[in-house]
Symmetry: C2
Subunit: 343 residues, 2 copies
């Protein structure tokens, strides 16, 4: 059993001041470089800080200065391959800008105690809000209150004035379907859409439709189906369609993860990819370049979204002007699953 020690009292700014023979105001000034201080005095202060191993108390600083030096990130869940690059981008940019990161997932509501708002004005200088993490009422409160916040992958509900950073979904989808049609001669392309109300999915579906239309292929609604953007639902959805005997020569899964589910279902049904059926995804997650066949997909600049969102947020915090909408470009990544480069 680990024994419990009583912690020696942490040094405060007063201890430093005393040791250096100056006032606490002066200590504060040298620590924050917030005013000119005689070089010799400053040196004494720094020595005292060093000797006492003093660190300012964040809460006290926040309370007095009205800033927390931390950014909040609100998202539905923290795991899931999709969030990795996003987190990396946010982490990197926040750190570079000198901010800590407070992360909160909305999937595990904290029901204890009073209904405190876990991440907001009281513990954060600004908020990054991933799509569907906050309801419209809350978004509107943020917007009205003028608190710095930027939306990720979500166009703000009308009347709400918050910047968004998102990606070019429609064109990406459009191009990959074009590829299927023009290069591989596909005509009956199944589209697996994401969850209801998923904005990205909606745009990707539009891109799909536009491509068909541009090639004079009539839209067949039986070729559009739900897949939930995840492996398991996609697999089931496809298995059902296969059972029903639906005919198609390609599948455009709205997300790479769904593409894996499709692949599994196809393989189980004995249909070969890409020889019999072409398969493409969206996102270019890491596994897309590892799985077999290598997945042809649309690269979503997820890490960039994280980076950019932080930059926008920091501008907001500094009260600098900011564009309302950032749409990051996507890129077509041709690999094997569409039928290209196949051995």
């Amino acid at each position: 059993m680990t024994t419990i020690k009583t912690s020696p009292a942490r040094p405060t700014i007063a201890d430093v001041a005393e040791k250096a023979g100056v006032s606490i105001a002066t200590v504060s000034r040298v620590l924050n470089a917030t005013a000119m201080v005689d070089e010799e005095t400053a040196l004494r202060v720094r020595l005292a800080v060093e000797a006492l191993d003093y660190r300012p108390h964040a809460a006290a600083r926040t309370l007095a200065s009205r800033k927390t030096d931390t950014l909040g990130l609100l998202l539905p869940e923290i795991s899931g391959a999709f969030f990795q690059p996003l987190l990396r981008g946010v982490e990197t940019a926040a750190s570079e800008a000198g901010y800590d990161l407070l992360v909160h997932t909305t999937r595990n509501p904290n029901t204890r105690g009073m209904p405190r708002r876990p991440l907001a004005e009281h513990n954060t200088d600004g908020l990054l809000v991933f799509t569907d993490s906050l309801d419209a009422r809350e978004l509107s409160r943020l917007s009205n209150t003028g608190f710095p916040a930027v939306l990720l992958y979500q166009t703000p509900p009308s009347g709400i004035d918050l910047p968004v950073v998102t990606i070019e979904n429609k064109n990406g989808a459009r191009r990959i379907v074009d590829h299927l049609i023009e290069v591989h001669g596909c005509r009956r392309i199944l589209f697996l859409r994401g969850p209801q109300g998923h904005e990205d999915s909606g745009w990707r579906e539009q891109g799909y439709c536009e491509s068909l239309q541009a090639h004079n292929i009539p839209l067949d609604s039986s070729l559009i189906t739900g897949g939930g953007f995840n492996r398991h639902e996609a697999r089931q959805a496809l298995a059902q369609l296969l059972d029903k005997g639906l005919a198609f020569d390609a599948v455009f899964a709205g997300a790479d993860d769904a593409a894996v589910g499709v692949l599994l279902a196809l393989r189980q049904a004995g249909r070969r990819v890409p020889d019999e059926i072409a398969l493409v995804g969206f996102d270019d997650q890491e596994f897309a370049s590892t799985m077999l066949p290598l997945l042809t997909t649309v690269r979503a600049p997820t890490e960039q979204v994280g980076l950019e969102a932080v930059r926008v947020l920091v501008r907001l915090i500094r009260k600098q002007p900011v564009q309302p909408r950032w749409v990051l470009p996507t890129e077509l990544i041709i690999r094997e699953s569409c039928g290209c480069h196949s051995h």
Copy 2:
């Protein structure tokens, strides 16, 4: 351009007190359920809170109460497939216990301003420290100071009294090598170890050695090589060995990610897995059950580590006694890449 609004002043506890016609002490009591309050009075307070949309200011609360209600997580990087389940576990448990999570990566040192310690006593009630995120000096400070902290995947340097939660590396490795030898008759098993000084890797190597010894297979040091536990290094390392003409009938990659690199190198060299060479990994990352062939590996209970670590930390914070060492069991997962279930 988004216009900047001036935020109306946020309501404070004084505003609530005034509106409810009570003192701020009473408001504090009903909010924190920290003393009996007349039911009728409490109701008035709650109504006032609701009407003003009041939320307590975290920093003020922290300063007055000496607790932050947040846990800190220190790790080398936030992305990387390995960290996903860990983060999920930590997130879930922290949230259930009523704590926020402050995440800080040590890979991007924040060089601006004074050398503040990003996560510590001043903004956190306790710390979760992933291996290699903090140097021994800092660990020793935490230990001496009695600040609640738990180590992840790292036995504390001697003299430092901090609990660890880690996994059963040696037995896991031992069992998977046993499997290769006993079921598949392998005799020359290549072991890819992780980075220098990586504790998990060391244990896995021991398990490997013990298994060979138990089966009277002499240790051949040319069969142990570095692989960095990551895809690219592993791939290169293997390609070199293959070039040199090293003979082996199986590869035990110390991490699943390295196993992917091995697979890529083997495939490029035209060696078939598992027909010619058996391949196994360690971790059971998500892609292990997706890649082809499906990867035989040792399941590391990474999410559990996160959950357990938070539980231990919370006990520490509550000054409850705590075991110094938690070793979570691993499990052998037989799939295809070793030669089992292969079509």
